[in-house]
Amino acid sequence: MNNLLRRYGTTLTVIVCLLTAFWLLVLVILPNLYLFENSFRPYLPVQDIGGPKDTYSFNNYMTFFSSPIHISVFLWTIVFSSLVTFLCFVFAYPLAYYLSKKVSVKSLPTLFLVLTIPLWVSEIMRSFAWFIILSLKGPLNILLMSIDVIEKPIRWMTGFRSVMIGLVYTYVLFMLFPIYNAIQSLDTNQIEAAEDLGAPWWRTHWRVILPHAKPGIASGSVMVFMLSAGSILVPSLLASTNSRWFTEIIQQWIFESLDWNTGSAYAFLLLILCTIFVTLVMRVFRVKLSDIAK
């Protein structure tokens, strides 16, 4: 704090601190507290709010547990978010290894630029782009048919297929960068030492590089999983009739039923249950929270 004062002077420091406090308090903490408080109150007509019926209870939360459909949507959301996380890892790990250990330092900035350009376009635009690419008479099918890979166009947007494609595309970089940083910090001599001792490439990865990259993989996975499970744009744009995402149910409670109370209860359930799930998975893979913070 003293350091900050010395460097930027009183005025600037106060402005910076106030703006941060405003963002944190007014834009993050207060709305969440408001929703949290509301999630324990019943959905009532306006004249009953504050009346004798307006009491705290867990009824909104119980709505979820008494609805098999909602539970099943939630479970599928978890399953497919895990799949997205796994697919992101499958794409990101080799790329991260290649970028951090194989590419010459000279071409690195160009490659990173190419990788990050898609991030400059908003998520909604990217999702619409995929909507067009994947449509039945869209460019992907035309391309595949023109090079004789397929005979009839593939219906991409059925089941969770297109949602998976969209989510992996949107979040793969959140997996790439932490893994890249982790592998980057690995001493190249260790890779060479493993090879020198006779290890084939896969064993070097399994015993030396992967264990070292574990914290990066863990933080990337947590990010991708949480973002996927909480994503609303991609699932609603690229969804088909038989793919429902849990966030869509929250949206329905809030915007279609106008029942903000149950909606916020569902939102907090999503947060809590995902946190429990992530904690359990971290236990299984023996990742500590402190590893991720590194």
Binding site: N189, A193, L197, P200, R203
Partner: protein, 385 residues
């Protein structure tokens, strides 16, 4: 390495001092050149290293010695030339297919594995059973004098202990050739001297060919059977340590290995391996070096400069003592001749002769056999020593 399983089996119960089967191999470098872009790191090097030999490459940083090591281990391919290990051409052999084990300058131990898994990694790669791996790791820990460390983590070890683990890890794969890339440079002086003796002892015990890379002449001279002095990618001299020091092949070797007083001048007359060398200070008698010629200089080691009150008939320079530097086991006496140039003399700190006073006027004399006339074909890189 097909015999690992079998040789492990008959070596169970091996303890400290047991001698593994000698399985060293010779290394031949034939016209080996390595270029990086337009830079020639190794320039047409040919040398044969005998099986079971302790061989050092000595040179200033950037002289190409590490490149040679990486070519032998397979991480770099030579631009041209041939490398043979045990008579077998190593072209297109990946590092994991070569009978070499490299000890890295920073050791490159695997920090996430306990000590014994580090050592047994090469055996794990070869599919050796876990129980045997563990036994073998403990045998090797005994060999490098580090018992009870098997389950420690690498970060718990001291510098010297890490060193030993790295050696054990390399020995575990039973290499025919051990390659060591300045492995002692990170240790403090006492430990370094101790590890020198250890390395030498391990080499004698295992009979494996050791190739040792260093810029430290003390290490190279003390440990090696033969030393190759390198500069600018070229071999300057390959010889046993004594010959390197006493019979340097050229001016570079003379000035890189040990200290020298160097006098510029020209050969006035020569014959019978001796010459009269004319310098501005007078004409001295000296031995003709192997490459003495038109641009030669006179090289004289400080320990061969005697200071006395009487002038000798030949090879005598009147000097004045300017400074005395106490180095512990010897004393360095700095003197100045009439022209103001410094001549260094060294005396053993054994109390045999009284030290001269600062400012004393004496004569620096030397034996013609101890001064050598050499040409410095390769300029010594500034600040390289």
């Amino acid at each position: 390495m097909p015999a690992v399983g079998a040789s492990l089996a008959n070596r169970r119960g091996m303890h400290r001092g047991a001698v593994p089967d000698p399985m060293s191999a010779s290394i031949e470098l034939e016209n080996v050149t390595a270029e990086f872009g337009s830079f020639r790191a190794v320039d047409n090097v040919s040398v044969t290293i005998e099986a079971g030999e302790f061989f050092s490459f000595l040179g200033p940083s950037g002289c190409g010695k590490t490149t040679i090591l990486r070519m032998v281990s397979g991480f770099i391919s030579p631009t041209s030339g041939t490398i043979r290990i045990g008579g077998k051409d190593m072209r297109d052999q990946r590092p994991n297919q070569r009978p070499t084990a490299l000890i890295f300058q920073n050791l490159a131990l695997f920090p996430l594995m306990p000590v014994w898994e580090n050592i047994a990694f090469g055996l794990e790669v070869r599919g050796v059973d876990k129980k045997i791996r563990r036994e073998r790791a403990e045998e090797l820990l005994a060999l490098v004098d580090l018992p009870n460390a098997a389950d420690k983590s690498v970060s718990q070890l001291s510098g010297g202990q890490k060193q030993r683990v790295a050696i054990a890890r390399a020995l575990a794969v039973e290499p025919s050739v051990m390659l060591l890339d300045e492995p002692l440079s990170a240790l403090d002086l006492k430990l370094r001297q101790h590890m020198r003796a250890e390395l030498r002892a391990i080499q004698k015990r295992t009979q494996v060919t050791f190739i040792y890379i260093t810029h430290d002449q003390g290490e190279a001279l003390a440990m090696s059977d033969r030393v190759a002095v390198m500069s600018h990618g070229k071999l300057q001299q390959v010889a046993p340590p004594r010959d390197i020091y006493d019979r340097p092949a050229n001016g570079f070797v003379a000035s890189f290995v040990g200290e020298n007083n160097v006098f510029a001048g020209e050969i006035a007359a020569s014959g019978n391996g001796q010459a009269d060398f004319r310098t501005p200070l007078g004409t001295f008698q000296a031995r003709l070096g192997p490459n003495a010629g038109a641009n030669s200089k006179l090289y004289l080691r400080p320990e061969h400069v005697r200071l006395s009150h009487e002038a000798a008939s030949a090879n005598s320079i009147p000097v004045e003592v300017t400074d005395i530097a106490f180095e512990g086991n010897f004393i360095s006496i700095l003197t100045q001749d009439a022209s103001g140039r410094t001549i260094v003399s060294e005396a053993r700190n054994d109390g045999s002769s009284p030290l001269p006073e600062k400012g004393a006027r004496l004569n620096a004399t030397f034996d013609p056999d101890h001064a050598v006339i050499l040409t410095d074909d390769v300029p010594l890189k500034a600040g390289a020593h």
